[in-house]
């Protein structure tokens, strides 16, 4: 999604979000990512001013201060950024890819099923439904490599073991990762 993204060119508006909308976003986040609940006060303190940055291509970024915390594309669910995920690794369900897949993911490839089922990879024991936002971890690494959505349920991934398993949203070193607000 962020293969080509330049904040300077893309921004069309930057506004503080109303307190009532922030409440809505908080509620939505907790609904979408139940694990975020215990961190939500650290991520979105009640006093902090959430800034909404509207960008071209129907992308909206949410930031507190200088840190971009979430983004949203069109009406998709609000998704945490990798920087936020690194700070709170347990807010998303995790899947792990094998070592051979790392370099392809780092250049923005979607994740194929075999990379999720091989010996070096790991899928959560309980089934994740299709369309879940997951943190992509890597074999032998401590931190998340990318964020993506599953294109089929993890049970299906195990069964089919072919083709696209996870659509990548954000990966380490993509333009959004490098973007910094000043």
């Amino acid at each position: 999604m962020f293969k080509k993204f330049n904040l300077q060119e893309a921004v069309s508006g930057k506004n503080p979000v109303k307190a009532s909308s922030v409440r809505g976003i908080r509620a939505k986040l907790i609904e979408d990512y139940p694990a975020i609940e215990k961190h939500i006060d650290d991520i979105l303190p009640k006093k902090a001013v959430l800034t909404q940055i509207k960008c071209r291509g129907r992308i909206v970024l949410y930031a507190v201060g200088d840190d971009i915390l979430f983004f949203q594309h069109f009406d998709d669910p609000v998704t945490p950024t990798l920087h936020l995920l690194h700070r709170f690794p347990d807010i998303l369900p995790q899947v792990q890819v094998d070592r051979g897949a790392i370099k392809f993911v780092l250049s923005g490839a979607n994740i194929m099923c075999p990379g999720l089922t091989s010996p070096g990879a790991r899928l959560p024991a309980d089934n994740l439904p299709e369309g879940t936002v997951v943190a992509v971890m890597a074999e032998g690494k401590e931190h998340a490599l990318a964020i993506g959505t599953t294109t089929m349920s993890t049970d299906q991934i195990k069964a089919v073991n072919k083709g696209n398993g996870i659509d990548l949203i954000q990966y380490l070193g993509d333009p959004l990762w490098k973007t910094q607000l000043d």
């Binding site: 200088d66 370099k103 401590e142």
Partner: protein
Amino acid sequence: MAEPAAGKVVMYCGICGLPTEYCEFSASRKKCEEWLRATHPAEHERLYGDQAIAEKLTMTTLSEDKEAREAAKMEKAEQKSEARMARDLEKKLAARVAIKRIERNKRKCVTAVFGLHVFGIDLKTTAKMMANHFACGGSVAKNPQGLDEIVVQGDFSEEIRDLICAKFPAVPKDNIDLVEEKAKKKAAPQ
């Protein structure tokens, strides 16, 4: 990056910006390693020490010849990126910055500065800085070629040159040109 205190702190590489454990996959891997050795020796030992390498070998699920091929590929990519960096540097050295004095009418003029973007300077903030510095209007505008340049109202050619030299040491002084442009005669009414 100034993160709030809460949550886990991840160490990011000063060269490639990835978490340090991913440096081995970046194009500037050697530089990353050197940087880590110089700034965080303990972390360097953890990631690049003998023990870590031995562990990595037992951990990997790739077969050996595949590993070798991967390594060769990485080497190639690295060389490529190095070549690219050298080329960029050359470009920077060759790039000229034009400070143009444009006459608006008999006794008023604006100064246009073109070419700073090559040096990775943010035009908008620089324009603001100049406007503050000279207490005049300053903005980023498109020139006739459709490229961005900084326009400062008033004749500050010499001052801007000194200011650029002082603020941005990356810009070589010899590469700054002062140009003067007289107002063109108005085109004949159609």
